[in-house]
């Protein structure tokens, strides 16, 4: 699937390197830049299980919410600084993903997608009602944060680079998965689970692994999101629409590709930002229309479209060269 040229790791480095200039060039729109990079990272993480393994999760908000609440509560309630809180939250995410995957991946088809919504919804209801712990529907705010190495974690620039770091990690993981035997197994499961079993692959186990990887990265993103918001409520972080947004970014960009979800995140968020005043109310309506159109006419996403176009151009040129 590589269309020649640079080694993928160099491409990742190039992308991250270019993005690193964002705060210098567009210092005034750091909130937007943060969203771009964070959502690219989240969509790339989603794609590990949704794209590579083909298991449609419509409940990744469960991990975002878990990351947000776990890291925040460990800090505000127990005084555990975020650099300890986030790994603990990630471990919790791994436990959640393993248990959840263990229950649902033994079954095929839609059960997993159904369960993802249910889990996110149950967590939202619990966060809403367990007010003593979570602050309930009124939400929770982060008033102060420790400053490691004198860095102000409330600073937008610091947050941007943290999100960029997460994106780099997510892209590298995605590339590693795609280039490994594990990735090939996941694709085999996605294409035909029975045949993959005939090859000696244990589908349930591989799917759980992909899910844990995806969940852990998403939890980290959720913790960062919480710091960025510094005030959030269950409705905001466990929202089904948040989950759908990640799915949509991956579809638009191209599922099961390294850079597809990032491209999708940039396109969708750029679109949303450009038309924010016009379509503030309509964004979900537009999302719906985009999903329907993409599924119907471009199931491979923009990356797939671009690759086809590129191949056509290249083959055309070769054909011309071949003419004596």
């Amino acid at each position: 699937m590589s269309s020649g040229g640079l080694h993928p790791v160099l491409r990742i480095a190039l992308l991250v390197g270019v993005l690193a200039f964002y705060p210098l060039l567009f210092g005034g729109t750091l909130n937007f830049g943060f969203s771009l990079v964070l959502f690219a990272a989240l969509a790339t993480s989603w794609d590990l299980v949704g794209g590579w393994a083909g298991q449609l999760s419509l409940g990744h908000a469960a991990f975002i919410g878990l990351g947000a609440y776990a890291s925040t509560l460990l800090w505000t309630r127990l005084g555990l600084p975020v650099w300890w809180g986030v790994p603990v939250a990630m471990a919790a995410g791994a436990v959640l993903a393993s248990a959840w995957g263990w229950i649902t991946f033994r079954l095929r088809g839609a059960y997993f997608a159904l369960s993802t919504i249910a889990v996110a919804e149950v967590l939202r209801i619990v966060a809403n009602n367990w007010a003593d712990l979570t602050g309930g529907p009124e939400g929770i705010s982060i008033v102060s944060l420790p400053s490691p190495f004198g860095l102000d974690l409330f600073g937008r620039t610091v947050q941007f680079y943290l999100a960029l770091g997460l994106l780099a990690v997510a892209l590298l993981v995605s590339w590693r998965v795609g280039a490994s035997r594990f990735g090939a197994w996941l694709e085999a499961i996605r294409e035909d689970e029975d045949s993959s079993m005939a090859l000696g692959v244990n589908p349930a186990r591989m799917k759980v692994l992909a899910f844990v990887l995806s969940g852990v990265l998403t939890v980290a993103g959720g913790a960062l999101y919480a710091v960025h918001l510094s005030f959030f409520e269950p409705q905001g972080v466990f929202d089904l629409h948040l989950s759908v947004q990640l799915v949509l970014m991956a579809i638009v960009g191209g599922m099961g590709t390294v850079f597809g979800p990032t491209l999708g995140a940039f396109v969708l968020l750029g679109f949303q930002e450009a038309f924010r005043s016009t379509f503030q109310q309509a964004s979900l309506f537009i999302y719906g229309v985009i999903i329907v159109l993409m599924v119907r006419y471009a199931p491979d996403g923009l990356t797939g479209r671009l690759q086809t176009a590129w191949r056509r151009v290249r083959d055309g040129r070769r054909a011309l060269d071949a003419v004596p």
Partner: protein, 290 residues
């Protein structure tokens, strides 16, 4: 808790559960025949609610009477969505259809948002608060009517599936699509018919729930989840199972809420759903389909 309150709660739960069953049956039927999990099912229900709401407010049509409009409207909507959006991707992988219905659901719920605004509205018919006394138990009159109509609709569906050629063709398609095709069943048309029936059932359920609930544009997503729970409890694709699944969900929710877990009402069903997935993934009532 006295015996009377317990009976009262249980009766209310079963009556509500009947309407849940109606939502669930449509979803189960669609899954059984089309192998598609319709993530826009609750949104169709919301469309039914708003249709009845508008007819009541502007034309003074009785909510139950609006079923006469909603049923043909639902048929048309179901046929259109299936023909235009689902039929072309019939052979695509499963997640494609899920995404498509998620998209349709978003479009529907946000169209309702544009048209009617986000605030919850309620319909006050003359009988909205009327009650019927049955010995020591008091039951809400609209809930009773809704339950009665639900029984009627389910009976009609049962007769359709068992006594007509269309029903036989639907069951044949659910059992084995290729074999049905070999027997001369036009399975593409059957899929359209089934999606239309499912849409009608969802929209009718919306009408029946209207006198009991606040209506707001995103009311559907809760019911999509409830329909999933009902379907999984009864076994995916098992229509009779869905009836029991619905009654069970209504009962469990209502009893759970009266035992002090009011705020967790919606979570109860979801936890039950996850437990059933863990213990009996084929549903509580075996594994037969349609």
């Amino acid at each position: 808790m006295t015996v009377v309150t317990l009976l009262q709660t249980a009766a209310g739960g079963i009556l509500t559960g009947g309407v849940y069953a109606l939502v669930g049956i449509g979803l189960s039927l669609i899954f059984g025949v089309m192998r598609i999990v319709n993530f826009s099912h609750g949104e169709f229900m919301a469309v039914g609610m708003y249709t009845a709401f508008v007819l009541f407010r502007h034309l003074g049509l009785d909510p139950y009477g609006s079923l006469l409009v909603v049923i043909p409207a639902g048929t048309a909507l179901g046929v259109a969505v299936e023909r235009v959006l689902l039929a072309p991707i019939a052979r695509a992988p499963e997640h494609t259809a899920i995404l498509m219905t998620v998209g349709v659901g978003l479009i529907l719920s946000n169209s309702l948002l544009f048209l009617f605004g986000a605030h919850p509205q309620t319909l006050l018919a003359s009988y909205s608060t009327a009650t019927v006394r049955l010995g020591p138990i008091t039951l809400s009159f609209p809930l009773l009517v809704s339950f009665g109509l639900t029984v009627l609709v389910i009976t009609a569906l049962y007769l359709l599936l068992t006594r007509t050629d269309l029903g036989r063709a639907i069951r044949a398609t659910a059992q084995n699509r290729d074999a049905a095709e070999l027997q001369g069943v036009d399975t593409a048309w059957i899929r359209t018919a089934v999606f239309a029936i499912g849409t009608v059932l969802a929209m009718a359920a919306g009408v029946l729930l209207l006198p009991l609930l606040y209506v707001f544009p995103t009311v559907g997503s809760t019911f999509t989840l409830k329909a999933f729970v009902v379907t999984v409890l009864g076994g995916m694709g098992n229509v009779v199972g869905a009836i029991f699944g619905g009654l069970l969900l209504g009962l469990v929710e209502s009893l759970g809420a009266s035992f002090g877990a009011t705020n967790y009402r919606d979570a109860i069903g979801l936890v039950a759903f996850l437990l059933v997935l863990l213990v009996r993934p084929a549903g509580l009532f075996g594994r037969s389909r349609v």
